[in-house]
């Protein structure tokens, strides 16, 4: 029987006489693959830990900014804005008796109101609308 007639030999497969050696080679190859897989898993795990640390750090920064923004917005609504309204109302009343102050109010787009008119909250125009 020639080699071309033997399909096992022609396809490069091992003959039965080479069984134990081939099994040993396959076992070594399996060990190498297992080792490679473990190394890849370990590398991916390290990368994942680094990504987690980065995300945690970013979250802390965003959280601090968010707390600051919330505090600022709340402080503005409860404390500063009513104070500014009082100031504007007082200045508008003052300009009734002191007309020389009116140009300053007009510079900021604030009109003097008649003495009997009640000042409405939120009458201060936005800075973009001022007469500067």
């Amino acid at each position: 029987m020639t080699e071309s007639d033997n399909p096992v030999a022609a396809s490069g497969m091992t003959r039965p006489s080479e069984g134990p050696a081939s099994q040993r080679e396959m076992h070594e190859e399996l060990q190498r693959l297992r080792s490679l897989f473990n190394t890849t898993l370990l590398a991916t795990l390290l990368l994942s830990v680094a990504v987690n640390a980065f995300l945690f750090y970013q979250y802390r920064i965003i959280r601090a900014e968010l707390d600051g923004a919330r505090k600022l917005a709340q402080e503005f609504q409860t404390t500063k804005w009513p104070l500014v309204n009082k100031l504007v109302t007082g200045l508008q009343s003052f300009s009734q008796t002191h007309p020389d102050f009116t140009p300053i109010l007009e510079k900021y787009g604030l009109k003097s109101f008649p003495t009997d008119q009640v000042a409405q909250p939120g009458q201060l125009p936005a800075s973009g609308q001022s007469g500067k």
């Binding site: 473990n38 994942s48 990504v51 995300l55 968010l66 917005a73 503005f76 500014v84 200045l91 936005a126």
Partner: protein, 93 residues
């Protein structure tokens, strides 16, 4: 199988780390979205405070020429009642 159990543990830890990363990404996304939603009102507040500060500066400058406005500024605590002249208190601070 010692190697097999090591691989299993490694894969398990990796899955846990992946879930942790997903959770962190989601909370970072929601926090960023909240911050972006809050930023327009913060910018508006800052603009208004700058505007009020400029008005206060001009008013304090005016008070040097006409002290009649001092009672108003003192009542709002923008100027102290000291004899040596007024001191300015920032609106935004």
């Amino acid at each position: 199988m010692k190697s097999g159990s090591f691989t299993t543990i490694l894969a398990g830890v990796l899955v846990v780390a992946a879930f942790a990363a997903a959770w962190q990404v989601s909370r970072l996304y929601f926090a960023t979205r909240q911050l972006r939603g809050l930023q327009p009102s913060v910018m508006d507040a800052n603009n208004r405070l700058n505007f009020a500060q400029a008005l206060l500066n001009d008013t304090l400058e005016y008070s040097k020429r006409n002290p009649a406005i001092d009672p108003l500024l003192i009542s709002l605590n923008f100027k102290t009642n000291s004899a040596g002249g007024g001191t300015q208190k920032p609106v935004g601070k």
